[in-house]
């Protein structure tokens, strides 16, 4: 391909855009050190999840009955569990499960929540009233109880757990999005769009949704941490991700508690992984909220 002035121009523009992006990230890190720490934790987790096949020293599913409950040492850095499986490898693979469930649930929950919230605000009147009353009903359920009910219906496993966790998130997200969408609805450009004869769907998806992205993004990041916690809780109860999949909550179940005194590494490390991951998402979410939403900014 010939290098025309145009392509050069495009390239430099792309370069500029990228450097602006990097500058924004650096700026964010400088102004919000806690958020940057959160970002780094998440980055490490993502890299771990992506490269688990290379990073993990041992197959996470390989049982070694000769080395059951062995203490951390040269061969098994963080020890082994009751089946002789390597705790470190299972933790690394567990990050994959946690991220998958977290991202999946957060994505599904916030997409449905956003659409319901925006539509409720857009149509207003009776539609809004009915939708809000239905959301009230969902709000009266504790999160974990709703999730447990969905698991009871769908069964266990990664996919079902994602749906189970997304369910209680939908009304929470819808409420937040609705309140911002109410303000957006009054904007002149929505009137303009209506005057131009656009359909409801187009106005909701193309004009309103992009303008509630900031609270949505904040919500979704906050959800991520909560979803990881919820997944761990469900798996711990034996009603989430099932054996032999490597999941942090699952690693804390059963033998980890039974042999807690003689093999504390089984109980300590996976919990540490959960806490660190959620900690990272919470730090990032908090700073993101401060940076993105001036309305929610606290001093």
């Amino acid at each position: 391909m010939a290098v025309t002035p145009q392509t050069v121009d495009e390239l430099t523009r792309a370069e500029k855009a990228r450097s602006r992006w990097i500058a924004a990230v650096l700026d964010f890190a400088r102004q919000r050190p806690l958020g940057a720490i959160g970002g780094v934790i998440i980055l490490v987790m993502v890299v771990m999840a992506a490269t688990a096949d290379f990073v993990a020293p041992i197959d996470p599913l390989a049982t070694d009955y000769g080395a059951m409950l062995s203490a951390p040492g040269a061969e098994h850095w963080l020890g082994t569990d009751a089946y002789g499986r390597d705790v470190l490898s299972r933790m690394i693979y567990g990050s994959r499960t946690a991220l998958m469930v977290g991202l999946g649930a957060s994505l599904i929950g916030s997409v449905f929540g956003a659409v319901i919230g925006v539509a409720s605000a857009y149509f207003g009147g009776r539609v809004d009233l009915v939708v809000q009353r239905i959301m009230d009903v969902f709000f009266a359920f504790p999160v974990i109880i709703l999730a447990l009910a969905v698991v009871a219906i769908l069964g266990t496993g990664v996919g079902n757990v994602i749906l189970a966790i997304a369910t209680p998130m939908v009304p929470r997200c819808a409420r937040v999005v609705r309140s911002s969408a109410l303000a957006v609805r009054e904007m002149p450009y929505i009137d303009a769009a209506r005057a131009a004869g656009f359909g409801h769907r187009r106005i909701i998806l193309r004009h309103m949704l992009p303008n509630v992205m900031a609270p949505l993004l904040i919500m979704a990041t906050a959800f991520l941490g909560e979803a990881i916690l919820l997944e761990a809780s469900l798996s711990f109860l034996g009603l989430g991700v099932t054996e032999p999949t490597a999941a942090w909550g699952l690693m804390l179940r059963g033998a980890a508690v039974e042999f807690a005194e003689s093999a504390p590494w089984m109980a300590v490390f996976p919990g540490l992984a959960i806490s660190l991951a959620v900690f990272g998402f919470n730090l990032l979410g908090d700073s993101l909220r401060d940076a993105l939403d001036p309305k929610l900014r606290i001093q």
């Binding site: 806690l34 009353r133 239905i134 009230d136 009903v137 969902f138 709000f139 009266a140 359920f141 504790p142 999160v143 974990i144 109880i145 447990l148 009910a149 969905v150 009871a152 219906i153 941490g225 916690l229 761990a232 809780s233 711990f236 109860l237 009603l239 909550g249 804390l252 980890a256 508690v257 807690a260 005194e261 504390p264 109980a267 300590v268 919990g271 959960i274 806490s275 660190l276 991951a277 959620v278 900690f279 919470n282 730090l283 908090d286 606290i298 001093q299």
Partner: protein
């Protein structure tokens, strides 16, 4: 005000009916029922269909859905929650002792959360943007991040390793042996309370920061009032409301939502009952439990709103 209270009370009814419909339908969608759960659970897969039908008829499960629903609702109106489908004893009896446990735990956890949140929040606000502020923030975000069941495991573990002592694992009601009771419940209350203090701490901090910038605080300072006095008499009174609100709202969910923590500490609370009930497809029990938790949530919400109006003369409802 009386009209507002009445309006709010009446508004609870449709929500409760919605909750009833939702849980009723959700349970019917769950594969299997109590009869299947019992016989298949006992290992006799070849239970005759006839026998199962007779059992279902006895429980009223052969009736059309709307009929079952109306029967159940009519019972609730008369405050009769019926019999547990699994044990056959009255639901109220099944729930009673477990409710006492969950209520006590929720109260204790909320107390822990309040006792942590208020001083920490004030401290963070007074030392805004210093290392103290950051430390408080990290402490509370860490509390949100740690699963309370894991914190529970760690507590039990460290007590075992360092003190060779285990908290009692069999529940003793407060009125039987208060000491034994507290020795058992204080640990889950700490684990859960720490987690729930986080939101309160943040709320306390921001509310305090806001209040400290008000004119009347400046006036109080200008007239040379002692800082402690300003905080206690002027600032705290105004900043504490949102914190108490958020903690009371959480309280309702602590009643039925501590499923996992109860498991770790071997507490037979409502959460545990819920998981058992689901596994046994004990429709009546689950329905009653959900209604109980949902009503608790609505009532707490209501009380908080009313308390607001009562405590803060600027707020008036119509």
């Amino acid at each position: 005000m009386a009209f507002y209270i009445l309006k709010r009370l009446l508004a609870m009814i449709p929500t409760l009916i919605g909750v009833a419909v939702l849980i009723f339908l959700l349970l019917r969608v769950v594969p299997g029922d109590v009869v299947e759960a019992r016989y298949i659970g006992e290992g006799s897969v070849f239970q005759s269909q006839e026998l199962m039908d007779i059992e279902r008829k006895k429980l009223g499960l052969d009736q059309p859905l709307w009929n079952q629903f109306v029967t159940w609702m009519w019972g609730i109106v008369r405050l009769d929650f019926g019999l547990s489908m699994w044990t056959g004893s009255p639901i109220t009896e099944e729930i009673e002792l477990r409710f006492a446990l969950s209520l006590q735990l929720a109260l204790m956890a909320s107390t822990v959360a309040t006792l942590l949140a208020i001083p920490l929040g004030i401290l963070a606000a007074l030392k805004q943007d210093t290392w103290v502020d950051y430390a408080v923030r990290v402490f509370s975000i860490a509390g949100l991040a740690m699963p309370s069941f894991w914190l529970g495991i760690l507590m039990i573990l460290s007590m075992l390793i360092f003190f060779h002592w285990l908290p009692p694992m069999v529940f003793t009601p407060l009125w039987v042996n208060p000491w034994e009771n507290l020795a058992q419940l204080i640990w889950p209350a700490l684990a859960v309370g720490y987690r729930y203090s986080a939101v309160g701490t943040r709320m306390m901090r921001s509310a305090m920061l806001e209040v400290l910038r008000e004119d009347y605080i400046r006036t109080a300072r200008a007239k040379g009032l002692w800082l402690k006095m300003i905080l206690a008499r002027h600032a705290l009174k105004n900043a504490i409301l949102p914190v108490l609100t958020i903690i009371s709202l959480e309280f309702a969910f602590l009643l039925g939502g501590l499923v996992v923590t109860e498991q770790v500490f071997n507490l037979n609370g409502l959460g545990m009952l819920f998981v058992e009930g689901i596994a046994r497809r004990d429709y009546t029990l689950i329905q009653a439990l959900v209604m109980l938790v949902a009503s608790a949530f609505l009532v707490v919400n209501f009380v908080v709103d009313i308390a607001y109006a009562w405590l803060d003369p600027r707020i008036r409802y119509r």
